[in-house]
Amino acid sequence: MSTLALADTAALTGRSLRHILRSPDTIVTTAVTPVALLLLFVFVLGGAIDTGSAGSYIDYLLPGILLITVASGVAYTSYRLFLDLQGGIVERFQSMPIARPSVLWAHVLTSLAANLAAVAIVTGVALLFGFRSGASVLAWLAVAGILVLFTLALTWIAVVAGLTAKSVDGASAFSYPLIFLPFISSAFVPTDSMPGPVAWFAENQPVTSIVDTLRALLAGTAVGPEIWVALAWLVGIGAVAYGAAAVLYRRRMR
């Protein structure tokens, strides 16, 4: 049974990866806005921002930019899932003797591959414009692990959006608040420069702990307790979104 589930997931993931390879523009589009933001903040606004840290502003900025990359990239996942549901191909798969959850897992794994590709592009561009990191291999692995968890958590939210959407536009609208969230966090400026209530929100929302953890890992400095806050947010959000997606998916098929 579980080997069949793996085989079905592999077959369906191969299918949606082909979709991406045949329209690689979706990955480039995902990377364009974060790269533009990166350049805007580094070369236009960054000169006036005092982060109070030793490194260059691009080093300070990159973690938040990477999160924005993923937040905008997962919109394609809900879009593709919505189109599959609309076109009837999900029903075709469901009427066959396959492991039913493999339909969702294929979209999730494809989202992971596509978003990590976009993250790699953005990181490459940042390196070109002066981003430097003295992080150890272990720290880089931790960065990759947190980005994978972040992508999974946001992808399951995207799956919920794709399953509940009534229109193509609705399927991707959920990502706008997610893209906006890093702006009200420590991603661009330190939170202590913000007025009280805004600073309180910024310090207590998930993005700040994730950004601070990534920044410490990339800078090669000691990671504080914020890594546990970040991991708790990521696992919590991922679990809730996964549960909601599973319930919605089962209910849909009845």
Binding site: A7, L12, R15, E91, R92, S95, M96
Partner: protein, 259 residues
């Protein structure tokens, strides 16, 4: 085999008893009874909204009935959904093919999902059988309506399911493509596959079906052979009417599609 005699001797391929289904308080199926004999073609005839697609979705395990029974080759759809999915193949209303993949890749995907050995040669055989070999490497999104429908039906045949359900197989097709689909359905039945097809076209039922079931307002109002259904009406009167060619005959003659 002669349909009526065989039906009483062998287990029906599809057996539906008292099937009920409502959506948000609106009763769509109000106790449907239907039997389909193995190897026969049965047309489920009904106007839009009669509940044909609901019935088909319950049979193919996509929807759960509120009450009643439905079984495919003796397997109850709710209790033995996995066995039903092995035996029955659905071709839905909207030609659910992957437009980004080529025709061949669509077939290979379905063969892999049915866990069959050598998906590549299964795909090549079907492309050949459905006249799609040349188009096989092209994206399915570039296909004409008729080609898409042929690919769609070819995908349903993978794994040789005993029962094929075709939901409005010719809706939206041009006359030539429609004749091609009809030929395919006849071939299937000749090979021993049981076919249940829904249609809103009376001539389609007349052309293809061994038996016709009329679904109206949630129940089967009549079921029988074409001759039996015709006998329900008063006997024919003799009238003299000039035989004009139908527009379909004209169209096919002019486009050279008559076969």
């Amino acid at each position: 085999m002669s349909g009526a005699a065989a039906a009483t001797l062998t287990r029906p391929a599809i057996r539906i008893r008292g099937l009920v289904k409502s959506f948000k308080g609106v009763e769509v199926l109000k106790g449907v009874d239907l039997e389909v004999a193995p190897g026969s073609i049965v047309a489920l005839l009904g106007s839009n909204g009669a509940g044909k697609t609901t019935l088909v979705r319950i049979l193919s395990t996509l929807l759960r009935a509120d009450a009643g029974e439905a079984a495919v080759n003796g397997h109850e759809v709710s209790a033995e959904a996995a066995a039903v999915r092995e035996q029955l193949s659905l071709t839905g209303q909207f030609a659910a093919v992957d437009e980004v993949l080529s025709g061949r890749e669509n077939l290979v995907l379905i063969a892999r999902l049915r866990h069959l050995p050598d998906p590549g040669s299964i795909a090549d055989d079907l492309l050949d059988r459905f006249g799609l070999t040349e188009a096989g490497r092209r994206r399915a999104g570039t296909y004409s309506g008729g080609m898409r429908r042929r690919l769609d039906i070819a995908m349903s045949l993978i794994g040789d399911p005993a029962v094929i359900v075709l939901d409005e197989p010719t809706t939206g097709l041009d006359p030539q493509a429609r004749l091609d689909v009809w030929a395919t359905v006849r071939q299937l039945a000749a090979g021993g596959t049981t076919v249940l097809l829904t249609t809103q076209y009376l001539d389609e039922a007349e052309q293809l079906a061994d038996r016709i079931a009329i679904l109206h307002e949630g129940v089967i109002v009549h079921e029988g052979t074409l001759a039996e259904l015709k006998a329900l009406l008063p006997p024919a009167r003799v009238e003299y009417v000039e035989k004009q060619p139908t527009l379909e005959e004209v169209f096919l003659a002019l486009t050279g599609g008559a076969r």
